[in-house]
């Protein structure tokens, strides 16, 4: 249960940004609001509390965008965590060998590339709106010249795609093994 520091406007984010200091939390709120990223100041529940007694509730799905935004404005934060459930992002990566192509699956995202050329053949899975955008940007490019999902994406789906991308790059550089 949260102790809300302002009137509930119906926003339910599911994610919490934890800060060392109250000043940090207030700076974070200003920075995110300036960029149009929805958030609100809350008191974190005791089981998640680290640092100060003030945190920002955000839409958890926007974790990568929030991290990038706060980082670019030098707003230091401790962590971004879900308000319920496990706090660890999925680390599991699964690989399928199609012969001439390899498919790497991370969470709900799959990236398939040509073993020899490293060209991105397909991206499938996911559901957030940056995925079709990344699909269009990355398709038909060699992995080492394709944009990195973490740098262009905004959502947790793009973070999973980034995991698949990093693993794909490693497999390709090892000769498709």
């Amino acid at each position: 249960m949260f102790f809300k520091s302002e009137k509930n406007n119906g926003f339910e984010g599911g994610g919490l940004v934890l800060f060392e200091s109250v000043e940090g939390a207030l700076s974070g709120e200003r920075a995110l609001k300036a960029e149009g990223i929805e958030n609100r100041l809350v008191a974190p529940p005791p089981e998640l509390r680290r640092g100060c007694d003030l945190a920002l509730e955000i839409n958890l799905v926007e974790k990568p965008a929030v991290e990038r935004m706060l980082g670019s404005r030098q707003v230091h934060f401790i962590d971004i965590l879900p308000t319920r459930g496990g706090t660890e992002l999925l680390q599991v990566v699964q690989v399928t060998d199609f012969g001439e192509a390899v498919m790497v699956k991370a969470g709900n995202m799959k990236l398939t590339f040509d073993k020899v050329s490293g060209v991105v053949l397909n991206i499938s899975g996911g559901g957030c709106p940056d995925i079709p955008y990344l699909h269009a940007e990355m398709l038909a490019k060699p992995l080492d010249r394709a944009p990195r999902p973490r740098e262009m994406g905004h959502t947790l789906c793009s973070l999973m795609l980034d995991r698949a991308y990093v693993q794909s790059l490693e497999i390709w550089k090892n000769g498709g093994r």
């Binding site: 119906g10 926003f11 339910e12 599911g14 149009g36 839409n59 958890l60 799905v61 926007e62 965008a65 879900p82 319920r84 459930g85 496990g86 660890e88 992002l89 999925l90 680390q91 599991v92 399928t96 199609f98 001439e100 192509a101 498919m103 699956k105 969470g107 709900n108 799959k110 398939t112 040509d114 053949l121 397909n122 991206i123 499938s124 899975g125 996911g126 559901g127 957030c128 709106p129 940056d130 995925i131 079709p132 955008y133 699909h135 269009a136 398709l139 994406g153 905004h154 959502t155 947790l156 789906c157 793009s158 973070l159 999973m160």
Partner: protein, 301 residues
């Protein structure tokens, strides 16, 4: 009328409403051109191909540009919240959009204000939002893949990236268990179409169909092959098929389209979609007859 709502991978596309037409690898809607890649463009294209074959009106489409920032998605949510009762579609498919729990709840409330609540289908992040907001049971049909089914089965997760490891690592042999958990936690729509190497169709907590042929493993790699199933299901329901029959025909058509396209991991989704008229011409009558026979079998004492 079938209404399809989602985002397109273009930053500059305003909220655009109209009939969409697939020409080669490009979807044209309201003067805009959108590449037919993974996502709502693939869903719209497959729905359009299905309805055209059935000589039904083209789907009405609400598309907005969004690169993931959520700005376009929020416009779409607001439009639906304000206008769904007036539009009064028979079937709604909600698809790629930033999952925002509070807004999805309001969309569902708005749908209930229509004279007759539409048949509500959610796939992709619209499904994530519905589940995370705790309103999955207000929906008629979800189309998860195995990783998304694990998300539905995890009562705490608000996005598939935070699913419990033991659920995520489930193989397809555990699908019945995951389906049961999703229904038990109230995280499933009335009908689930679980897309995978073997497609499973479940209704009211019970698996009613498993389909594995033709087996085209490359389909899993091709971006958009889940979207096409959702588009075809929506089209078939709006044409009068019941949910299970529509799902059965859609997954068979998808697999057969993969066969006709000679699918490889490098195949593009529009190449699969362009075979659909041939797939339906060759098989739809037979599949529809089999569906009637199965219904008679099921209703026999």
């Amino acid at each position: 009328m079938l209404l399809i709502c989602g985002t397109a991978p273009r930053k500059d596309l305003p909220l655009t409403e109209g009939e969409a037409i697939l020409q080669g690898d490009t979807l044209r809607i309201g003067g805009a051109e959108i590449p037919c890649t993974q996502g709502t463009a693939a869903l719209v294209s497959a729905a359009g191909a299905t309805l055209a074959f059935l000589r039904q009106p083209a789907p009405r489409t609400l598309l907005v540009g969004d690169d993931g920032s959520g700005k376009g998605s929020r416009l779409l949510y607001e439009h639906l919240i304000g206008n769904l009762p007036r539009i009064a579609p028979q079937v709604v498919v909600l698809h790629y959009m930033l999952p925002v729990m509070g807004l999805m709840r309001k969309v569902s409330e708005s749908a209930s204000k229509a004279k007759k609540r539409p048949f509500m289908i959610a796939d992709a992040a619209a499904m994530y939002a519905a589940k995370a907001a705790g309103i999955a049971r207000e929906f008629d049909l979800f189309t998860p893949d195995l990783s998304e089914l694990a998300f539905l089965a995890d009562p705490q997760a608000t996005h598939p990236a935070y699913v419990s490891r033991h659920l995520f690592e489930s193989d397809s042999s555990r699908i019945p268990e995951l389906v049961a958990a999703a229904y038990a936690h109230g995280s499933a729509a009335r009908t689930l179409v679980v897309k995978g190497s073997t497609d499973h169709i479940a209704q009211d907590g019970r698996i009613v169909e498993r389909l594995a042929e033709p087996n085209i493993p490359a389909l899993e790699a091709i971006g958009g092959t889940g979207d096409t199933i959702s588009g075809m299901v929506g089209a078939l329901v709006s044409a009068g098929f019941d949910a299970v029959t529509a799902a059965r025909i859609a997954v068979r058509a998808n697999r057969t389209a993969g066969l006709y396209a000679g699918a490889t991991p490098a195949t593009r989704i529009w190449q699969v979609i362009e075979t659909l008229p041939r797939v339906f011409a060759d098989h739809l009558d037979k599949w529809a007859r089999q569906a009637v026979d199965r219904k008679i079998e099921r209703s026999a004492p």
